[in-house]
Amino acid sequence: MKKWILSLSGGLVIGIIISTIMYENQTHVAVPQSNLPKVEQENAQQNQTNGLRPVTYEQISYSLQNEELNITYNKGEDWVRVPIEKDSLFVGEYNGSKDELIPGSYIFSDARVGFIYGTDSILFKFSRDHGVTWQEGVISKNFPYVRYRKVDFLNDQFGYAVLTGDRTMSQEFSAVFLTHDGGITWDETTTPPSTRIIADGGFIDENTGFMSYGTINPDKPDLYVTQDGGQTWHASVIEIPEQYDLIFVQAELPIREEDHLSLLINQGSNGDYAGGKVKGKFISKDNGLTWSFAMEVQPNEAE
């Protein structure tokens, strides 16, 4: 009996000693982690100081929490606040979520991050030193009620911005701007003679650019090309085989492939050919003026 009592007591004493040591090694004021999935919990742990969570799992990402824009270069470990009012990132005609940036309206690369924003004027704010200093350029003064916005850079100095606005039903005004000094000054180019809703636009080198129109029930691709940095635009001639007539209707932004250009033409939002996701691949050997059909591309190949 005595043996039992002493064994039980000894066990309790040892247990108390071990538990006290364990308790002493614990953090007594913890940061809430809530019931998030494990990956998000890890991120939450990383952001103990400010509670920010990156929107994507990319190395460079951002957060629009707390009504401000913050960027991270290391998956949420450290954050830099961007000196832009959150609402000005969604200026104009935009009805989507304000928890994520408008696709195309920003660029993230190790060399540069930049954002299109504004009020009446459309501005581009960017940083080349991981958010330590910021520079700003005016893309357009008094732009009418911006809807579509896209910015990209092809090298350290040359970049383009495509803006549309002042939409009424299925018509809108579009404009292209180029910068040759990294985003500080922007010059407007001429624009193609189309007021249809833009599908995509951009440049593939300093001279060659494309604008693709028609998103509302298009019946054929409406693509324009410039080969002189936006001074003149020509309608591209796309030879669509008869069997793909009314199927491949919306041109995407071409890319350069070896000695020719390659263009994917999708089926628009209402396409139902082979599941609706198959695209047509077209080739141009005269830098975008004429295009001939090459092959069908399955969705996973096209991505």
Partner: protein, 279 residues
């Protein structure tokens, strides 16, 4: 007869000691799995002290010829636990308050080294999980006032000598399922002793001693579904809370039932003012 009584008491105390140790094991399991902590960090040592005391008395009752070594070990352990409990006060400032009806415990912990202040949501009274990091560090005294049995208002001075305010809510005035906004639910004119609150589409205005101030909706922050804090230049000025007799209707055309409370955010001792619906 007396010996039997001692034996029974001794065994009961030993079982109590074992039960308290099981409580500690439960804590460690819950901490590892659910981030659970004691509502007051010092409770761990209090439980250990009680466990050792029961063990000490239980053993002396059960074993008459207890060696001095065993008693010495228990006494030394007891002293260590008391020392650690006192030392905990230098690491963590535990701010706890029990609701008037004893159903809820408000818990905030301040890490005295980093200055971080965390609000804890309590479970079963003694356990709590971290819920929210408060935005500002605390300097000086703090104040906890229960505006209702399920609404605790926490006021403290921040390191930049401003007053900050946090409202912990533990209940609901509807069905406990759906969320609702407090501001629209109290739309109308509310009157109390020398104060008037008007909630309309512009915001909430407070009239005190014939001076009125409008707080626009963007300057009003809601806590849970029971309270809103009205801010001027980001500084909390007033808290409006729904009293326990307030009923949130699904149909907004039904007449308002119940009272609301208006509480001035200040470090001085003050009481919430109960308001009744006027029109």
């Amino acid at each position: 007869m007396k010996q039997n009584k001692n034996l029974i008491t001794g065994w009961i105390l030993l079982l109590f000691a074992a039960a308290l140790f099981c409580l500690q094991l439960t804590y460690f399991f819950a901490h590892a799995k659910y981030q659970v902590e004691y509502t007051d960090s010092r409770l761990f040592y209090v439980v250990n002290i009680l466990c050792l005391l029961f063990l000490y008395i239980g053993l002396t009752l059960l074993l008459r010829k207890l060696t001095k070594i065993v008693l010495g070990v228990l006494a030394a352990l007891l002293l260590v636990q008391i020392g650690l409990l006192v030392h905990m006060n230098k690491e963590v400032r535990n701010i706890t308050s029990i609701s008037p009806n004893k159903h809820h415990v408000f818990s905030v912990k301040e890490n005295l080294k980093s200055g971080e202040v965390v609000y804890y949501r309590t479970h079963y009274g003694i356990f709590a999980r971290p819920k929210e990091v408060l935005p500002n560090k605390i300097i000086g005294e703090v104040k906890v006032e229960w505006l209702a049995n399920d609404i605790a208002a926490f006021t403290y001075q921040t390191t930049d000598y401003k007053i900050d305010h946090f409202v912990a809510t533990y209940g609901d005035r509807k069905n406990g399922i759906s969320y609702y906004n407090v501001g629209p639910e109290i739309q109308g004119v509310w009157k109390g002793n020398g104060v008037e609150v008007v909630s309309n589409t512009e915001g909430i205005s407070i009239k005190e001693n014939s001076a009125a101030e409008l707080f626009k909706w963007e300057d009003i922050q809601q806590y849970g579904t029971l309270a809103v804090v009205l801010k001027r230049k980001n500084e909390p000025i007033w808290t409006i809370s729904l009293n326990e007799n307030f009923v949130v209707h699904s149909d907004s055309t039904e007449p308002l039932v119940g009272n609301i409370s208006l509480y001035k955010v200040t470090m001085e001792q003050n009481q919430p003012e109960t308001l009744r619906f006027a029109q």
